[in-house]
């Protein structure tokens, strides 16, 4: 590790080439699957074309649902509700029961819109409820939709049902319809892959696995989820319309809960955070009952067994089994070597230089005053240490600054502007970034992806541009990747960029969190016990890193127990005890302060 100079490697070029190669390699399985799919009609008979059409339709829904379940981690079990809705809307409009008949493609489009709306309605509880509760409410929705279909006889035909829509030539033949569904499925695959490899995809998995950190990075769970629900609802409804056409006749009893289970389990067997995995999962689960008739009766039992097996033995699903990259062993004697000079390159444009000002902050938990009238100031470019015994309120203060807690009294200001109370998400936009007492990371994602999460709000492309992989999206990604690699280079983790984060050592995770924070180009950086668990060597390097960051103009507030580190790097130190400021001053002054020594430092 030593012989390497501090010179900046041609990060963007290497990184870019490597990225292109990775992208090409990862498309190969998809191309293979779709090539086989295209050839099915010529290799087999109408029966398998039917099954393949059905698989394509299911994958259209599951691929989009993957964003909700696999990426966002919202366990929407009752999604057959939207399939039902889409099927009925398309059918009713095309048949002309209520309004004059609408051309089938238009009906399909309208069904998509209806699906979006309903997708949001079904999904809204996710914003308020815990996981299991949300799962149960989706189950409730599935039942409601079926019951309404049954009861509203004048429109839906009730139990008798309605003939499904027939699309105009050439899509009304077996072959034509099959290729149409295949095209829809391919389009959906491409779109969701675009989302997966974008800031939206990373933000989704951040919400899933590191919600607190996601908020600190400025990711608004509500906005993101609603956007995704709109997309997924539309796709599911279109799948419903195609389903109705395939069935040629729909009745409420065709939309069984077993279908919902199939969709849901396909994603989990495939592996969260993957596109290929759930696609293979859907194919397998749809084909399984057709391979042997005993399997047909036991199919749902089998799906459940597979799910259990995945949860217990292979939580990553098929995707984990196919993840050959992460089987390679890592070097065991790795050292983290930050490059302080690279920090300037990373933070070259710290937007504003702000002073962080806390005045008379008060916050209680239950009857206990955790923070009792605290004044604190951190100037731009200053490293300010915050120390004190456990329970003195240090982390609480950080959490107030981050916006997780709302103070009872007092104010938090950036320069002249008061920070909006109780809203974590806007903090990142104001230029505040932080690390956490226990690293909050996405274990299943790579180190680079974790770091990129920190830069989410700096992306320009909106969701639609991402879906369609338009220019701004690609620019965003190129820039983000280059910056991310640079940040990793700066903290000394460049070689581990493509490694799954849960394979890293604890100390490496701490540095990774710092790289993530840097991606936000923060003007205020909050570090919560960054040295905990680090070796003496690593603490020294951490110190150099923090000093380099401060030299770029960022105001840094460090909560720490390692007194040596504090006295080494801090410009000023504030000491807390029982929620109140015990002493303030330079490290030299604090070190000999009588009360500080007796309460905390020891003789």
């Amino acid at each position: 590790m030593s012989g390497k100079s501090d010179a900046l490697p041609q990060v963007s070029v290497d990184g870019g080439r490597e990225r292109t190669r990775n992208t090409l390699v990862s498309t190969v399985p998809f191309i293979a699957v779709f090539a086989i799919a295209l050839a099915v009609p010529f290799l087999t008979n109408d029966y398998w074309v039917l099954i393949a059409t059905r698989t394509a339709i299911y994958w259209l829904l599951v691929g989009a649902l993957n964003l909700v379940v696999g990426f966002a981690g919202q366990l929407a079990i009752g999604y057959v509700a939207i399939l039902t809705l889409g099927a009925y809307v398309t059918t009713i409009l095309a048949a002309g029961n209520v309004l004059p008949p609408v051309p089938p493609f238009v009906a399909l489009g309208i069904a998509g819109v209806a699906g979006s709306v309903f997708g949001v309605i079904i999904g809204l509880p996710a914003l308020r409820l815990r996981t299991f509760y949300f799962a149960i409410t989706t189950f409730g929705f599935a039942t409601i939709v079926t019951q309404v279909a049954l009861a509203w006889q004048s429109v839906t035909g009730g139990g008798i049902g309605l003939p499904g829509p027939e699309f105009p030539a050439p899509f009304n033949s077996r072959l034509g319809f099959y290729y149409f569904c295949l095209a829809c499925a391919a389009l959906c695959t491409w779109m969701t892959a675009n989302v997966a490899h974008s800031r939206f995809g990373r933000a989704l998995i951040a919400i899933r696995d590191a919600e607190v950190a996601a908020e600190a990075a400025g990711i608004s769970k509500a906005r993101l989820l609603i956007t995704v629900f709109i997309f997924t609802g539309a796709a599911a409804a279109v799948a419903g319309g195609l389903f109705a056409s395939l069935q040629t006749y729909i009745t409420p009893d065709a939309f069984t809960f077993d279908l919902s289970i199939l969709f849901f389990i396909s994603i989990l067997i495939g592996g969260r955070g993957s596109i290929l995995g759930p696609m293979l999962g859907t194919i397998i689960l749809t084909l399984l009952p057709e391979i042997a008739s005993p399997l047909a009766t036991w199919s749902t039992f089998l799906y459940a067994c597979l799910l259990l097996a995945v949860v217990l033995a292979v939580p990553g699903g098929i995707a984990a089994l196919l993840d050959f990259k992460n089987r390679k062993p890592l070097l065991s004697n790795r050292a983290i070597v930050p490059r302080a000079s690279a920090i300037t390159e990373v933070l070259q444009s710290v937007q504003t230089r702000e002073t962080l000002i806390l005045r008379e902050l008060v916050l209680s938990f239950g009857g206990v005053r955790a923070v009792d009238g605290v004044d604190l100031e951190v100037l731009p470019g200053e490293i300010h240490g915050l120390i004190g015994p456990n329970g003195s309120g240090k982390t609480t203060i950080l959490n107030v600054i981050s916006g997780y807690y709302r103070p009872e009294a007092g104010s938090v200001r950036l320069g002249d502007n008061a920070l909006e109370q109780r809203s974590t998400v806007v903090r990142a936009a104001s230029g505040i970034a932080r690390t956490f007492q226990t690293p909050r990371i996405v274990g299943e994602a790579t180190v680079l992806q974790n770091v990129l999460i920190g830069g989410t709000i700096r992306g320009r492309a909106n969701f639609i541009e991402t879906l369609l992989s338009l220019a701004r999206h690609r620019q965003d990604e190129d820039m983000a990747h280059a910056e991310g690699l640079l940040a990793l280079h700066a903290v000394g983790l460049r070689e581990l960029a493509d490694v799954r984060a849960d394979r890293l050592q604890h100390s490496e995770l701490r540095f990774m969190e710092i790289a993530r924070a840097l991606m936000g180009r923060p003007s205020i950086l909050l570090l919560d016990e960054p040295a905990a668990g680090l070796s003496a060597d690593e603490i020294k390097r951490l110190g150099q890193l923090v000093k380099a960051i401060s030299r770029c103009g960022t105001a840094i507030l460090v909560v720490e127990h390692h007194a040596d580190l504090i006295f080494d790097i801090c410009d000023r130190v504030t000491v807390l005890n029982l929620g109140q400021v015990l002493a303030k001053g330079t490290p030299t002054e604090i070190r000999v302060h009588k009360e500080v020594v007796s309460a905390y430092l020891g003789g």
């Binding site: 996981t131 509760y133 929705f141 989990l268 459940a304 799910l307 949860v311 217990l312």
Partner: protein, 285 residues
Amino acid sequence: MIASILASGLAVGAVYALIGVTYNTMFSASRVISFTAGMLGMLGGVFGSLFILRLGLPIVVGFALTMACCAVVGVITEFIAVRPVLKSLDQHLYVLSTLALSIMIQQLTATEWSTEPQRFPRLLDVGAGILDEKFWLPIVACGVVMGALEFLYRHTLVGKAFLAIAEDNFAARALGLPERNLRIASYALAGMIGAFAGFAGGELLLAFVANGSLLNFYGFVPVALGGLGNHRGAVVAGLALGIYQQAANFIVGGIFASVAVFALFIVLLLAVPQGLFGAPTVRRV
């Protein structure tokens, strides 16, 4: 009419309440909400019918065997679907593992037993009309279970140990309480409560495999509304739910009744996510 609504409402509500208690018991021991609670209720009815009607065993023996079998199912749940995922509770893997197990139980029962509702034996042959035993048996069962649980928690060491691990897992372990064994015992207990619910409600709901998902949902509503881990809240909410459902059945008829219940549930839950009697959870950051 009103009498009829009250009778069937309280009866079915008592079954829902007991399933809610089953959920709560499993939750208290492990912080896991398990999809198998409703299945245990279903198995209570199915096993009862199997042992007493099909195999011809005496009622008391059939009852004991049913309780024993469901206790075993409860323990199996702990072994297979709960213990392995305890370390990743925030990953919500338990939702998936218990869902998978409950589907397996349901499918197995459907294929081996029957997909149609089967008869449940007449237990005591007491009462007729509104006062028929199928209406008051579940209510009595509910009372018995609540009484037994109170006694357990207040006057026995095991019960207090259960409370301890529910209250503060780490502290209890630090005190030397055998956490694993207590958890297994809790799951066995939950199995028996579920079985009791299904058995007592058997004459009302019949031995029917579809009861599993029905009870999963309707048994969870009292938990959601009464507060997670709160037995008394579950009973009150369960009885109220039963009456509301039967009233809706009576006034609007079958199809809309379930819509009414779901809609109300979702609305209430969104308004008060922690339940009507639960405490709002503060997020730990």
